[in-house]
């Protein structure tokens, strides 16, 4: 993974000092609430319903074991022994004292972590495939380009005060696990026939109130022009994006207003002037950054298929875990492992300091000291020798991190919702808990197969409900919490183009959510052909049969 240079380190230290000085000015009454708001957001600090929340950037979801230990320490010393894995691969802490945040950031800086631009109307932490550098279906590891974008976007003088937040995601695999279609800018990276790194650039995707899939604005962009092109695109957005209404300020609205062709032409018009100028990436820089992401020193691994087969027979739960939470790796004898935080009774993405420490230790022991955070709010150990899988599983079981539900219905994505977030219209965690309890039975889940259920407590869609195979959105109806169900969304897949969920009908009170979801699942089971997944089935039959049965007059 990327190793900080002296420059990176001094930059982060200067930033902490600057923020400390800003915090002091605020506490001394020299900055108003509104002024300080803009500064603290750009350093990761929100003031939530109950207490502040600090969002630490995990660039493209990759962490070292040491960094994760440091996050465990923050959870213990500044939070109440918890951390929360966010849907954008970051880690959040609730309850830090505003005055102590500079100290937390200074502690983070010691292990090369920061909270820069994790909030506010600026370019946010760039995200990617949590199996990057490990997945068998990968054509190119996207992380070097994520790091190049991270550096370029950090304290960019021109783009710190955009109309609205700006999220960039990069994927380099057949299956788009980074959901590039629902980002302000999505980048698909690949090699051309000559082996040159290129990008297809999508713009104007996003969830929120107006969910839209990004449109292709440039294909086959050579790597050396990546930053000048992004700069031209950002400039068009910064100048012409709406600032009069925050609900119409995202780039998707601008792209729609200008039309994709109009937007593309405007960016090209801008880019003509800067293409080839400062910001053009020299070959030396590209290879310098790529070298940090060279594969770890894999060793020759024994063939353990017989042992694994015996272990599977002896421990059915291990067998289930292998089936769902362990995926094929690029390197023979290795596997990538999902450590699910979605045990029944635990809010999705919440992890205790003990769990954080344990994962950090397993990363050191089994995965070349590397950990990932997935946008599904799980930990991933990317490079685990298969011979250690059983051992790792036993330890994960003991820490309640071995629930065999990766990509099944209980591996739900869920925002913090009305329990914590001041934007939320409705609670989301209790809904997730009720659903987890209801569908806890492994055989039932397994029979349903791959099924993403995503829950957001409001239209801001932090729980990505639009791209859940089943999406649940909390809405406020005359002061009561109601939930709107949508079906058939998904973020991107090799065979199926990304799509946004369709609303199944009028919203329902919380008490009915579990029953309606159960009914949807029954309808699916009735309608599916053999091994057809929920999503494929939905694509075939459409929303009508679901609507008819759920809202049949007998209800």
């Amino acid at each position: 993974m990327y190793q900080y240079t002296e420059f990176d380190r001094s930059f982060i230290e200067e930033r902490v000092n600057h923020y400390r000085e800003q915090t002091t000015r605020y506490l001394d009454g020299k900055l108003s609430e509104d002024e300080f708001l803009q500064l603290r957001l750009r350093n990761g600090l929100y003031l939530q319903r109950l207490a502040p929340m600090l969002r630490v950037a995990i660039p493209y979801g990759t962490l070292s074991s040491n960094q994760l230990f440091a996050l465990g320490k923050v959870a213990r010393e500044y939070d109440r022994g918890y951390g929360h894995l966010s849907t954008r691969q970051n880690m959040q802490f609730n309850w830090p004292e505003l005055a102590e945040v500079p100290d937390i950031l200074a502690d983070m800086a010691k292990v090369d972590l920061h909270a820069i631009q994790t909030s506010g109307s600026c370019i946010r932490n760039v995200t990617t495939d949590h199996f990057a550098g490990a997945a068998a279906d990968e054509t190119i590891d996207p992380r070097p380009y994520c790091e190049i974008i991270r550096q370029w976007s950090t304290a960019h003088p021109e783009f710190e005060w955009l109309p609205r937040k700006f999220k960039i995601a990069v994927t380099g695999a057949a299956e788009d696990r980074a959901a590039i279609g629902v980002h302000d800018v999505g980048l698909r990276v690949y090699r051309d026939a000559q082996g040159q790194v290129q990008f297809d650039v999508f713009a104007g995707g996003g969830l929120g109130r107006t969910p839209v899939l990004g449109a292709l604005v440039r294909s086959e962009l050579p790597i050396e022009h990546l930053l000048t092109y992004l700069e031209a695109l950002m400039r068009v957005y910064n100048r012409y994006g709406r600032r009069d209404n925050k609900y119409k300020a995202r780039i998707k609205i601008l792209v729609r207003a200008m039309g994709v062709d109009g937007f593309r032409a405007k960016v090209d018009e801008e880019w003509v002037h800067s293409k080839g100028g400062p910001g053009t990436l020299p070959e030396t820089e590209i290879s310098r950054v790529e070298a940090f992401f060279a594969p770890p020193n894999y060793s020759e691994q024994p063939d353990v298929s017989d042992t694994l087969a015996e272990q599977r027979l002896a421990k059915p739960k291990f067998s289930q875990w292998l089936q769902h939470n362990v995926i094929e790796h690029q390197a023979p004898g290795y596997a990538a492992v999902t450590l699910s935080t979605k045990a029944t009774g635990v809010p999705p993405g919440d992890v205790s300091d003990t769990q954080i420490d344990a994962v950090a230790q397993w990363a050191a022991d089994y995965s070349f000291s590397e950990v990932r955070i997935s946008h599904e709010q799980n930990f991933v150990l990317p490079h685990v020798p298969k011979q250690h899988l059983f051992e790792l599983w036993k330890k994960a079981e003991a820490q309640n991190l071995a629930t065999a539900n990766a990509r099944l219905i209980t591996d739900m994505i869920c925002c913090p919702g009305g329990d914590y977030c001041s934007l939320a219209n409705a609670k989301s965690i209790p809904v997730a808990e009720a659903l987890q309890e209801r569908f806890d039975d492994y055989d039932f889940q397994y029979d349903l197969g791959e099924l993403n259920l995503n829950i957001s407590g409001c239209m801001n869609a932090c729980g990505h409900h639009h791209v859940g195979h089943i999406g649940i959105l909390g809405v406020d109806k005359k002061g009561s919490e109601f939930y709107q169900i949508s079906l058939g969304g998904h973020a991107g897949h090799s065979e199926l183009a990304p799509s946004l969920g369709q609303i199944v009908g009028p919203s329902i009170p919380r008490a009915e959510v579990c029953d309606v979801i159960a009914e949807i699942l029954e309808i699916y089971v009735d309608l599916r052909l053999e091994d057809e997944s929920f999503l494929s089935c939905f694509k075939r039959v459409g929303i009508a049969p679901f609507k008819e049965r759920i809202y049949a007059p007998s209800h």
């Binding site: 600057h18 002024e35 021109e158």
Partner: protein
């Protein structure tokens, strides 16, 4: 009144309140003639003639409005405007370092702000990752 911050001998300073540089008869884009002081709104579209302004000011409506930053970059790089470029309006001490790197060379800091704080936080970093109007080198060009 406001505090005028500008550069003298390559160092940022608080200008003398009596300085002649305080007195400009600003014209908006519609009424401006070459040689006059030009005051632009952040949504102005470039006019090549502007390179002949005696001074250009960009009027920030709010500290969160970044359009003036892009406009400044365009004045410097597209029109090659080399005269004084002044931040006007909602100039805030914590935005100065972004403004400087987009090509601003002086600022009218509102009277309510403390100029010593502004001068103190105008250069929070020794170096940056990206090239800018004031520094053509990216960090990677220096490695």
């Amino acid at each position: 009144m406001h505090h005028l911050i500008n550069k003298q001998n390559d160092a940022w300073q608080l200008a003398d309140a009596q300085s002649a540089d305080q007195q400009h008869a600003w014209c908006d884009a519609e009424n401006w003639q070459p040689g006059q002081a030009l005051k632009l709104s952040v949504d102005a579209e470039l006019d090549p003639q502007w390179a002949q302004a005696s001074i250009i000011g960009i009027d920030f409506p709010a500290l969160t409005d970044g359009r003036g930053l892009s406009l400044a970059v365009l004045l410097r790089t597209r029109l090659n405007y080399s005269g004084d470029l002044r931040g006007l309006g909602a100039v805030h001490e914590d935005i100065l370092h972004f403004m400087v790197r987009c090509g601003f060379s002086s600022f009218e800091l509102p009277e309510s702000r403390d100029p010593s704080v502004a001068l103190n936080c105008i250069t929070p970093h020794k170096q940056y990752y990206q090239s800018s109007v004031v520094d053509p080198l990216n960090h990677f060009d220096r490695v």
